[in-house]
Symmetry: D2
Subunit: 448 residues, 4 copies
């Protein structure tokens, strides 16, 4: 498949961790580690382990032949072990006898994947830290920057940009906790032999398992997990939820960046977001990447959850369905995360425009504020009716809400000009925004 879009949809960490070379390297690390562990327990000669390890270099393998052979064998490990055995045998026939000793294909494939995941998750967690830091900074900076709160894509009532961003920051803190927990649970050794009981290794099974875990510097689980895949799916869930929030971030920023709203925007970088035909265009590229990831990841996740139904000791089709799906999901999450971290770091905020837009609709978004004041006199339902009437007239006559209110006898009976002026001031009607922002910033500092 074309990899021309890797620069757009992936991150550099994902590109590296999921390259053809890294794919091979993961499985070869397993094979080399297995040989070393077996030598350390005296199960195979040390020279054999050394010979095997020497050939566990991706550069020595014929990838086209591997790919073709996998089409017959049904998995990559079988032809990989064959090539490795041949490479070793060419130099040391005895050592070749010990390649892949006691293991099954899935041990190499799953552990290889876990090693690739460990690699890429390092990059993802670093980017997540970067995003959290950027969000915290912008949240603090815009703690009381007032803009229209919007619900159902309509102006609703004023709020602050800081509170909006605090919502993202708090979500990202949750994602970080979830991701750490899922990563810790998922990054474990796979080593079970043909049917998960390591029978081929007899009494050496469990000691070897422990030694192999040490060699690969990865924890050994209680049991092999050939057909119990919830750990990997848990990781996919954590990343999918993260991507969902990144998609919302992309949606919100791109909505604020609309030509007619123009309250915030992606950082301006030369060559970024242009058009092949429209010279004025500044397209929200990071948002596009995040939204595309948020559109794709749910389907990939559904595949992984559905593929948990793997038959008996090792499944048919479900396991295979994971091979390209999980890396793809991780890559898209990583790519969206990297793009959005950079976007938030350089987020362009136009506070005057936010202020201007609060007046754009005749100030109708202050209707609730006035309604609550009137409700003290007319009850909630009565006040709602009066205000709905005033709002409707303001809209149909293209005048401001304030003007309508000043002329309405039911309103004037209870609220004078000074009271009305105070009530229609957006900055005075952002409620607990500041206090709520502070709570989240405190939490962020505590978890930093």
């Amino acid at each position: 498949m074309s990899d021309l879009l890797d620069g757009l949809f992936g991150s550099s960490a994902s590109a590296q961790a999921f390259s053809t070379r890294a794919h091979l390297a993961g499985m070869l690390h397993f094979e080399a580690g297995l040989a070393r562990a077996q030598a350390s327990l005296g199960l195979i000669p040390v020279t054999a382990a050394q010979a095997i390890e020497r050939h566990c270099d991706p550069a020595g393998f014929d990838t086209a032949a591997l790919s073709a052979a996998a089409g017959l064998a049904g998995n990559l490990a079988i032809p990989l072990v064959s090539q490795l055995t041949a490479l070793v045998a060419a130099q040391d026939v005895t050592a070749a006898r010990y390649v892949h000793w006691g293991a099954t294909s899935q041990d190499a494939i799953d552990t290889g994947l876990v090693l690739q995941l460990r690699e890429v998750l390092g990059g993802i967690e670093a980017d997540l830290d970067r995003l959290c830091a950027a969000l915290a900074l912008q949240t603090e900076r815009h703690r009381l920057t007032v803009l229209a709160g919007r619900t159902w894509l309509q102006q609703a009532s004023p709020t602050t940009l800081g509170l909006k961003l605090a919502g993202f920051l708090e979500a990202m803190l949750r994602h970080r906790r979830r991701l750490r927990a899922a990563r810790e649970a998922a990054l474990v050794l796979q080593f079970g032999g043909a049917v998960g009981n390591l029978a081929a290794l007899g009494e050496h099974a469990l000691p070897l398992c422990a030694a192999l875990a040490t060699e690969l510097d990865i924890p050994a689980p209680l049991l092999p997990w050939h057909s119990q895949r919830d750990r990997l799916v848990d990781l996919a869930c954590a990343l999918a939820m993260l991507t969902g929030t990144l998609g919302k971030l992309g949606r919100d920023i791109s909505l604020l960046m609309q030509t007619e709203i123009a309250e915030a925007g992606e950082p301006s970088i030369p060559g970024r977001g242009g058009s092949s035909t429209m010279p004025q265009k500044r397209n929200p590229v990071a948002c596009a990447v995040a939204l595309a990831a948020a559109q794709r990841v749910p389907g990939l996740l559904s595949t992984l959850v559905g593929a948990m139904v793997q038959e008996q000791e090792r499944g048919l089709g479900g396991w295979h369905a994971e091979w390209e799906t999980l890396p793809e999901l991780v890559r898209l999450s990583a790519g969206a995360l990297g793009q959005m971290a950079t976007c938030v770091e350089g987020l362009q905020v136009d506070a005057p425009r936010m202020h201007a837009n609060l007046e754009a609709d005749g100030g109708l978004l202050m209707a609730e504020a006035v309604s609550m004041a009137l409700a003290l006199h007319l009850g909630k339902s009565g006040a709602h009716q009066v205000m709905a009437r005033c709002s409707g007239t303001a809209r149909s006559t293209d005048r401001s809400l304030r003007e309508m209110l000043g002329q309405d006898p039911d309103v004037r009976e209870h609220l004078d000009d000074a009271a009305l002026d105070a009530l229609v001031d957006p900055a005075a009607y952002v409620g607990a925004a500041g206090a709520l922002v502070d709570r989240v910033l405190e939490q962020a500092r505590a978890e930093a």
Copy 2:
């Protein structure tokens, strides 16, 4: 929609928690709790709170009118608040002024849902405990019950039923931990007002939020979460993963229950699993339910993850997409869990048949065992070739592997009859099965 299949796909807890009545009750609990909390802070008269609470009884509402009005209003809370206000006003005009004071529709709808979830999760966790206990019992009982391990739907090598079940038990322990964590995070109050800053309540906002949480006996979060939905999705993820494992359990049991294998089966209950036309049929009903849930839940989960992209302060379409999807996902998980818990409790195991099936294919599944022994002499690759040849001849001539081995000169050179007899004994080739089982049982006891 027809609810005729609720008895098959749901659980009694889910049927109760997601009934029309419970749907109303959830939102009405919010409205009553809000009034009580406001009265407790002196924001509204105590008599008003009492009057409001008195009418927060689902029985008093016209559900057909609510459903029709929701089609215009766009959500259920608007017509619910209207009906409630009218009911209260009919008896106490003053009290009616305080209905839903300072809240927004989403506060009532989300908190109502959280209260319904709290209800149903109680039932789910109880069933999960029941399933864990049943799995632990069966795992221990069948710790060394030998059967064919099967990979890619082919007999592979022997293993024990206990180890197979231990894999499920360990997965269920993980699901239980995840579910508890997700439940704790998700079951929090929603209370943010129009755009999430509680502006309509002025300085009373945060104290009222705390008081409301106390009234409803549910924690208050740091922030309102109108458009940050990861908490609910996290719960959905935990249940989806659980359902994935239940689907695998259903698949494995139904495969073992096939007429030609018949090693295990669902408990036999009068009226269960018959056919409308075939008198001999005993269909695996619990497995069907679990497999159907495992087929449906991934798609529902993908909807929820995709719907996280909710615009600005409150979204358009994404929030709406959750309303029926999350209850459906919970119901299917609950139903599959209940059916499989009962199935494992009464699991029928036919150990003699397992034994017989080990011989069904001429004992070919012992090939690895012999191959490992030969490998000490011929190397892994050499032994593999000899055994592949013997297996092929056994298969094509319809004789047993043992017979072939006894006649093969390359084998005889290294292994005599006694050695071969020992090597082809399935019970002697289950590796670390017992020790692995013990690890998991210990973990289960520690977490019980």
Copy 3:
């Protein structure tokens, strides 16, 4: 499950076709038709058929008992046939012997579903005709109503509302063709007996199949299709694609309806789209419904496609997964369609506001128009650079594009004031919009 949201998400046709009563009625039509067909061929006594038919009335059945029994039996047909047999036997023991003669559960369940689908598809196709007619009318009316074309959520270049709507109209014509083809293929009899060869009916099998098709007025297929489900999935695909376009329609209208854009909006109906707390709100309810459906349907479709993997003669789990999923998908499609048809019929269009918004950004969206004129002199790339510079300066200095152009020497060299004035007129730069609209209207008329 609560059905309080049926008024919002469903249509009246879907509510009727998928009610509990209709669910029963579908299966009972099958049983009655079977008895009549058998009597018509002399296979059972005419009096038996009459007795059976007399009791095939949903009103006579105990639905709670059916639902509970389905939880044991694994499907609804088994307890339904039991209850029907008992009802008939109470009046005519002989007739009771012939209930469900030669059929299998799936024959009743699948055919019942097909009959329900036939019912609801009538309503859907009528609403689709209504939507096509409304789109054609609005397309013609706004053939040359100029507004900003928007790409990546940014103003791009002018276009016409008519062309935008023509895109929807053409898509709807395709959906209508696809839906008709899929409906015709899907609405066929299911009748195959236990394993699809009608063995229980001996030589009468195929004649009875034909007679039953006649009785139910539904075509008989070449083969029973117990485990080949592509016909139903094809119908689901057609509806899912329709819903995708409805979601886009809801997205586009709700974007145009944003407070700051306000170019078009849902029809204004008393009680529609209000807020429980904000008196000024007019929420886009139909758009919310369409967007929610477009969010939910893809997941449901993925379940149905995944569930095609049904084992052997009749599957385990996959078939069960369809039972509630397909009706849900149809209901959501029907609901979104009905809401959007009404929305387009009453679409509010504010052409002056569209005109004003074309100037909102300093007229920058005319940059391509000018660039193409300059390109004749400077080449495409050179012109692009000049215009990108002018656009950037206009944006950063908050002046209009026209003003910048008038001052730019590179521009002035080739274009005088008159030329520039003509080039920045949006109405003069809508290209082939009118001709393209005419093509689609002609096609719509040809297919009306």
Copy 4:
């Protein structure tokens, strides 16, 4: 991303059509065709068109730079056009002015994709023909080969392998018709300019559109379809349904191939389906590929359907979500199809084993046959009860159904030994299997 699994999951046609080179070639064909078409209408100099075409060779492009630049630009066409312009300019400055004249990025990207799809669909349709031919041959060959029909994974009643395969054949004929229709509708030119009205081309727009279609030998649609994506999704639906049936075929064959059933199997090819540790293994590789595709494609399809919600004239995120998803879906369908065509061509059938398995369960699968005979005397319900009792006793005492029947007084009263012997003959109870097979074969011949 690693492409090591392309040999397993893809086909040679998909590998070629979706390579990096073909990805570039698709867009470059568009650019070259555009220049030629413009020259043919006299819009640009013929020499410019020739210069442009000369550089439209993928080999001349720096793919690493393109991928990196796409990460800033947001799509591939922008950097591609830049590189192309630079390449042309290096030799012919005048010609460079006309590169990509009047087009927008999406015109090049979408048309390029359509050209890639045309390529790969040729290979897919050829493989589908091959599969249909193989299914027809095997269906005819095994028209009356008797085996156990299985429902809910239990032996149910006898049927024939021919009828089972005829179900697949009929489904494949439907898929072929759907695929042809979808291909014809989907493979159309994309050419709309910035917002779909070709404004940049003035009066030349529609003639140029027609000329470009001629140059690329691809039909021009009524309208540009930048944000109306149903045509591509329709193609995806057709392929997804095909893959669903391929998954069922893989499931059925792999179930028949289980060690304990062994009635049919994948063709035996050296090196195919082995194990890295178990010498006797013959894994069903083609089935694994088909099942994996059937697990993955539904999620990819759901992404494409969900991504139909593309904003206004050109969308943000939805369009981007298609770019890798649709090729992946096509590749998986193509790979599964190729593997299963080969599998059916060489399908191994063991008719004696089928016969033996009919007796495996004491012949209980003949219960319906006897029940129908008894029903003539006892009524359907009465007979069902007698037979359920006999079946239960046979099962619990491990005797054959025939033996039980011979001893049951209720049975003996109506059926003597000869009648019973005839009734328990599987070959005599396959109903209309032969006639049904003939219907489908006739249809296949008519459509060949």
